[in-house]
């Protein structure tokens, strides 16, 4: 649903005015909670579940447990994610096999949820695991469901028990019951009973499902539910819980773009774990369910948590504070700049990092163009300088520059560009650190993408108002470092080496915004 922005964007929006605050106020949290509520509703999480959920998140966000190392938006995202994973269940459960074979697995669900296809997938999966599954055709309702199961069984290479032709003929309870004896005789160790699709409100068919359950006494009753289902998931899940008391849930059609809020609703309302996910039309498209991945999917967050963790590790707080001091006292040198860049690189490949950001799929093209080599080359130039040169760029005369260019394998022009940009930017930072409004002296026009205004003012504001909270300030400074780095990478901007890389080379505004966002905005 590209129509709506993802949650992390919205949170960033909500927290736009929060910079400088160390703690979340009630009003801030409530604003965020509203956005979370919308995001969950758009992901089709049932309203009752959303209400409980947002209540819990609110309590926790206002509590004292929040992680001070993260900025407020990140804190909330982390809480939300924790809560989601908690509801979805931490570890995925596996099928519980009977001590004495055959293990009986019954499938139940609405029409069109994908039960028959799932029966085939499950059978194939079990067969690969050295089981001998038997498929039982107890859907005698839908035209040619029996035929479909037979075809599926053939594709999976497993046996099928279909004594009745279906299409309304035959008694499914009897078929199910007889199948157990058949399986015992023929020594099949798993029996998978495919039942007809039924609506939660259809009392008669629900009773029939209950009868089948009693007749076969299954070890597992799997409730098969379409990931695309909406608010009705709750009513349906409750009806099936009352009717057949399922033991676990299987989510189908996860290969679509539904956010799958139903998973959360069902898990939360029934307390039953989701154990499998079906992700395609091929019989092999079947996998155990991973709660944490689903949590990110529901919120449309990408792998933002991993990103936060990495950012947390990579930024040395003391270092960041020292840099901030330097801005203020005008002693920011090329050496400091180098250090910041190395810190950035500690976080791992920039491309990989960007890939983890939500919505990054859309900017694959730009990611391809993002040249990490620029950073490496800038680094090389600085490292070819003597300590004295790094501390005082005024020393850099013509012959020194020539030496540096040779040492780093670059041209004098490249060195000149770097030094010029560094000086201009350092000057600007000084102004900002003193609280003045800079007129962006050294910033050359951005190639292509450009800074279109948005990220820049943000940066200024931040530098202008230092947080009293050390952790918060560290995050700010970290973001500052980030603000510098993308420029370095961008063709012809900031500290970057513009030469030969002016076409589509720079990170786009989107990328920059994304990077800045994750780095503490």
């Amino acid at each position: 649903m590209a129509t709506f922005g993802n949650l992390s964007d919205r949170l960033a929006e909500t927290f736009k005015n929060l910079r400088g605050k160390g703690k979340l106020s009630v009003a801030d949290v409530d604003g965020t909670i509203r956005e979370i509520r919308r995001a969950l509703l758009e992901a089709d999480v049932a309203l009752s579940v959303v209400k409980d959920f947002t209540h819990n998140v609110r309590e926790r966000a206002l509590g004292d447990e929040v992680n001070r190392a993260l900025n407020p938006a990140q804190q909330v995202v982390q809480i939300v994610n924790d809560e989601l994973v908690a509801i979805l269940g931490g570890e995925a459960r596996r099928i519980q096999f009977a001590k004495k074979p055959p293990t009986v697995i019954m499938l139940a669900g609405l029409q069109g949820a994908g039960k028959t296809t799932l029966a085939g997938k499950l059978a194939l999966w079990l067969a690969k695991d050295n089981h001998t599954p038997l498929l039982v055709a107890a859907d005698l309702q839908r035209p040619n469901a029996v035929t479909q199961l037979q075809v599926v069984a053939e594709q999976a290479g497993v046996a099928v028990y279909a004594p009745e032709p279906g299409n309304g003929v035959g008694n499914p309870v009897r078929v199910a019951k007889d199948s157990i004896k058949y399986a015992t005789d023929k020594q099949y160790d798993v029996v998978i009973v495919d039942t007809a699709g039924r609506l939660g409100v259809d009392a008669e068919l629900m009773k029939q499902a209950g009868d089948i359950r009693r007749a076969v006494d299954p070890d597992e009753v799997l409730f098969v539910i379409d990931a695309m289902i909406g608010q009705d998931a709750v009513a349906t899940a409750r009806a099936f819980q009352e009717g057949v008391d399922f033991t676990a849930v299987v989510l189908t059609k996860l290969d679509g773009d539904a956010r799958g809020g139903a998973a959360l609703s069902v898990a939360s309302v029934t307390g039953r774990p989701i154990i499998f996910a079906s992700t395609g039309e091929g019989l092999g498209d079947f996998e155990p369910f991973y709660p944490d991945r689903m949590a990110s999917r529901i919120l449309d967050m990408g792998d933002i948590l991993t990103l936060i963790e990495q950012a947390q590790e990579a930024f040395d707080e003391d270092e960041a504070r020292a840099v901030a001091e330097k801005f203020a006292t005008e002693t920011f040198t090329l050496e400091d700049f180098l250090k910041q860049m190395q810190q950035m690189r500690n976080m791992g490949s920039i491309k990989k990092m960007m890939g983890m950001l939500p919505g990054a799929g859309a900017m694959k093209q730009q990611l391809e163009n993002f040249d990490e080599g620029e950073i490496v080359r800038t680094e090389a130039i600085i490292q070819s300088m003597t300590i004295a040169e790094r501390r005082n760029s005024k020393l850099l005369n013509g012959s020194r520059r020539l030496r540096i260019a040779r040492g780093s394998g670059m041209t004098v022009t490249d060195v000149n560009q770097l030094v010029n940009r560094f000086e201009q930017a350092a000057k600007m930072m000084k102004t900002v650190a003193k609280g003045g409004m800079p007129n962006m002296p050294g910033m050359p026009p951005m190639p292509g993408a450009g800074f279109g205004g948005r990220p820049k003012p943000q940066q200024q504001k931040k530098k202008g108002s230092k947080s009293g909270n050390p952790a918060k300030r560290a995050a700010e400074n970290a973001a500052l470092a980030a603000g510098v780095k993308p420029q370095a990478a961008g063709g012809g901007s900031g500290f970057g080496l513009g030469a030969g890389k002016t076409k589509d080379g720079g990170p786009s505004e989107e990328e920059l915004a994304a990077l800045q966002k994750m780095l503490g905005r």
Binding site: M1, T3, R37, R38, L41, E42, A43, D44, A46, L47, L110, Q111, G112, A113, G114, T116, T117, Q141, R142, P143, N144, A145, T147, Q148, L149, Q150, V151, V152, Q155, N167, L199, G200, V201, D202, A203, M206, D226, M228, I229, G230, Q231, D232, A233, A235, T236, A239, E242, G243, K253, D255, G256, D257, A258, R259, G261, A262, E281
Partner: protein, 291 residues
Amino acid sequence: MAQRTPWSLTGALRGMFQKQTIDDDTWDDLETALITADFGPDISEAVVAEMRANVAKYHTEDPKDLQRMLRESLEERLSRLDPTLHLSERPAVVLVVGVNGVGKTTTIGKFAKFLHTHGRSVLVGAADTFRAAAVEQLATWAERAGAEIVKPQQQGQDPASVAFQTVARAIETGTEIVIIDTAGRLQTKGGLMDELTKIRRVIEKQAPIAEVLLVLDATTGQNGLAQAEAFIEHAGVTGLVLTKLDGSAKGGFVLAVQEKTGIPIKLVGQGEGIGDLTGFTPHVFAAQLVG
């Protein structure tokens, strides 16, 4: 589930309309009811705001007025588009598309029966050559509906060629209406969506397509909009069919679909029986929904 609850918001709204006056809880209840009916946060908010404005405008405090205004508002939103099916071409080719498991084949069976009882000759084409036993399922329905069927000549035949043969047969035999079943496909599968475009193209070589019906499952949530957008792009959908309204789901998302895409709802399916398909009437729909 002791009782078969009717498809309607009545249950959710009952408490609200039985109160003496309209108060703050009323608005919460209304929003809850709309969201629970899958209208989605955007439309729910818009409807609540509209109702609030109307209540203020007419200085009413009677929940009965609110109920009437809600019904009228929904009816008005639903009736902005023309729900008539256009089947005047001969043969009139109807292509039925949708994601997996929404009830395409069942809908075709019911639709064929409906047309047959109105004295039209119907030919169905089993272009779902992918799913196991889909052809047999359609054949059973065709038999029940009294319609002819064109089946693929071999396993896994190109669906476009089945569609082509179906239309060719209809022209040959002078059949009035052709309904073509397609395999269910998730809107995210680019290759399968392109296949639909191909089916369309191939049919149009012989006869113009009268209607492309997108079947939507009432239990679907907000993903329904994404489905509609993708199918409109690739298959040129001209009408929506809402199925499984006999369950407890309200299918509120179709309103968002209709408003955002401008494609009208044309048919409504309400059960597994062959007669459980009706044309879409905004008035009846809104009245049933609101009560």
